[in-house]
């Protein structure tokens, strides 16, 4: 017997109907000028995130974990600075990449140079700080481990 397709919750149906009505009311205006361009952006940005950006950083993370092998503790010391640096690049790529440099300088009178340098510097600080922290904590752990190890003389 084929399972019958269910309607589902009445409340949920009513709520979604209201939501779609409002979305359609605003959507008509949103799509009024360049409907194809706007629809492409809304669907495209979701697909770009779900099917490109997310798999890319997930794959990079998986590669990192695999590369770390048994040193699992070290993973976070690479993951955190890489994620933070990548986040800054994701948000500020038009300025870091210099693609709006001409307009930025002529409109605001501010220099558009230095965004890439400052991003690289921040990235260096993040990785450097992380490495320092790793070495310090590692040294503490090593010393503690040496102290706690029962001496061979006793």
């Amino acid at each position: 017997m084929r399972p019958r397709f269910q309607l589902g919750s009445t409340f949920q149906l009513l709520l979604l109907a209201c939501s779609f009505a409002l979305a359609a009311y605003a959507g008509v205006q949103l799509l009024a000028r360049d409907w194809f361009g706007v629809a492409l952006w809304i669907v495209g940005v979701a697909l770009l995130h779900d099917l490109v950006l997310l798999p890319l950083y997930a794959a990079a993370d998986r590669a990192l974990v695999r590369a770390a092998g048994p040193r699992r503790r070290a993973v976070m010391y690479v993951r955190v600075p890489a994620a933070l640096s990548g986040l800054l690049l994701l948000v500020w790529f038009p300025l870091i990449g210099g693609e709006v440099a001409g307009r930025y300088t002529s409109a605001t009178g501010l220099s558009a140079d230095g965004f890439a340098t400052r991003w690289l510097l921040l990235t260096a600080v993040l990785f450097g700080g992380s490495a320092l922290l790793y070495v310090l904590l590692h040294a503490v752990r090593l010393r503690r481990a040496t102290k706690e190890r029962p001496s061979a003389d006793h």
């Binding site: 709520l15 979604l16 949103l30 669907v43 979701a46 948000v91 500020w92 409109a107 220099s111 400052r118």
Partner: protein, 414 residues
């Protein structure tokens, strides 16, 4: 390991689960509500119902139901609301990304729909995710002057916000009770596979060994937010601007001396030439029901001049601290052409292009004693980039309504 993302066992992160998703969801519930409200306030701040020149969204219809006369008090009102809108939006990006990561297995759930309600809910999720990302992306691009989106930012970001909000409210109503229950009951403990009869599609049935604790993951998301906040918030304060190292209008002030504060559009960018702003060429035309008056800058200087300490606050979220402006009160200029009661004014710049070369101000703005046609700032003449020979400055108004290089003022009901 299963190769297909449609198989639940494909998703192996031990972090995914109802607790993590619920926490991020509740943060976004609060944060996005603030973004929506401050966005609506910014829309009202332009007084779009006052004049077509202020209205970039003439088709708004019922969506403008709440519009009101934007006040002039406190004078930092727009600086606050728009600073919160943009800075909070940027700060929430890591939370949004983490939330989307935490629920991505649901994108591949099979069967695609268990019921009509479920099918509609998934369609609504396209508006939620697509609309939400669209709002964040257009906002982030606009503050960097990267106008690659398909149309006018004002229209796209405004109508897009309503489409997104429609889906957001439905999602919040459907999920908030569950999220609250999850947080109360799970208290950070590892999530059960089955929760109250609702199938838990988030927890991996085949989790990989953990490489980070749940607290560590929350810390990473929060750290990302803190980093973005710390390198952005300075663009709203002259004394902190140096700290906004990657944000537009962060870092240094342009130039030095009395005019060394942030510029939205330079004179060169606006196409203003010195020949039209020179002492000989420039005349301010003031029109009203009492007739038309033409004033040279020297004649303007003989009017009673007043001072006001007011910021420039841009829709892009940056602001200056209070600058000391000096010039003629708008209400005195109105009285010059027969308007003794406060009335609206239509302001025209010498600019020949640009969306805001014309702007309308409401009677409450014209009547405020701090609303000036400024001739000086910081004790010196206006620089060309700050609107020489004369510019409007109005308390609490969005930056672009403070028209620079003013050529004509027309007082009277709009």
């Amino acid at each position: 390991m299963p190769r297909s993302p449609f198989s639940p066992a494909f998703w192996r992160s031990p972090l995914r689960g109802p607790w993590f998703t619920s926490l991020l969801g509740l943060v976004l519930l609060g944060g996005i509500t603030v973004l929506f409200v401050t966005g609506l306030l910014s829309y009202a701040a332009y007084n779009p119902d006052l004049s077509p020149v202020n209205d970039k969204t003439p088709g708004k219809g019922l969506l403008g139901f709440y519009l009101f006369a934007w006040p002039t008090d406190p004078h930092w009102l727009y600086r606050l609301t728009q600073g919160v809108h943009v800075t909070l939006g940027i700060t929430l990006i890591p939370v949004l990304l983490a939330k989307l990561w935490s629920v991505v297995p649901k994108l591949f759930t099979l069967p695609p729909a268990r019921s009509l309600a479920h099918a509609l809910e998934r369609l609504s999720l396209l508006l939620l995710v697509g609309g939400g990302l669209f709002e964040f992306v257009t906002g982030v691009l606009n503050v960097q002057l990267d106008y690659i989106f398909p149309g006018s930012f004002y229209a796209l970001h405004f109508y897009g916000a309503w489409v997104f909000f429609a889906a957001f409210v439905a999602h919040a109503v459907l999920k908030t009770p569950l999220a609250l229950r999850n947080l109360r009951e799970l208290r950070g403990a590892s999530g059960p596979a089955e929760l109250r009869g609702e199938k838990d599609e988030l927890t991996s049935p085949n989790p990989a060994p953990p490489t980070v604790s749940r607290r560590g993951a929350v810390g990473l998301v929060g750290g990302g937010s803190l980093l973005l906040f710390g390198t952005t918030v300075g663009r709203s304060f002259d004394g902190l601007r140096w700290s906004a190292v990657l944000a537009p209008h962060g870092g240094a002030e342009p130039g030095n001396g009395p005019g060394d504060f942030q510029i939205n559009k330079t004179a060169a960018y606006a196409g203003i030439s010195e020949t039209e702003t020179s002492e000989e060429a420039w005349r301010l035309v003031v029109r009203g029901r009492g007739g038309t008056v033409r004033l040279s800058r020297a004649e303007l200087l003989r009017l009673p001049l007043h001072s006001a300490a007011l910021p420039i606050a841009c829709v892009e979220g940056w602001a200056t601290s209070d600058q000391l402006w000096r010039g003629a009160r708008l209400r005195d200029l109105a009285a010059l052409v027969g308007h003794d009661d406060p009335t609206d004014v239509f302001v025209e710049s010498l600019q020949r292009h640009g969306a805001f070369r014309h702007a309308a101000l409401r009677a409450n703005q014209v009547g405020d004693p701090r609303s000036l046609l400024a001739l000086f700032v910081g004790g010196a003449e206006l620089t060309p980039d700050h609107g020489h020979p004369a510019r409007i400055i109005v308390p609490a108004a969005p930056g672009v309504l403070n028209t620079k290089w003013v050529g004509r003022l027309t007082f009277g009901d709009l």
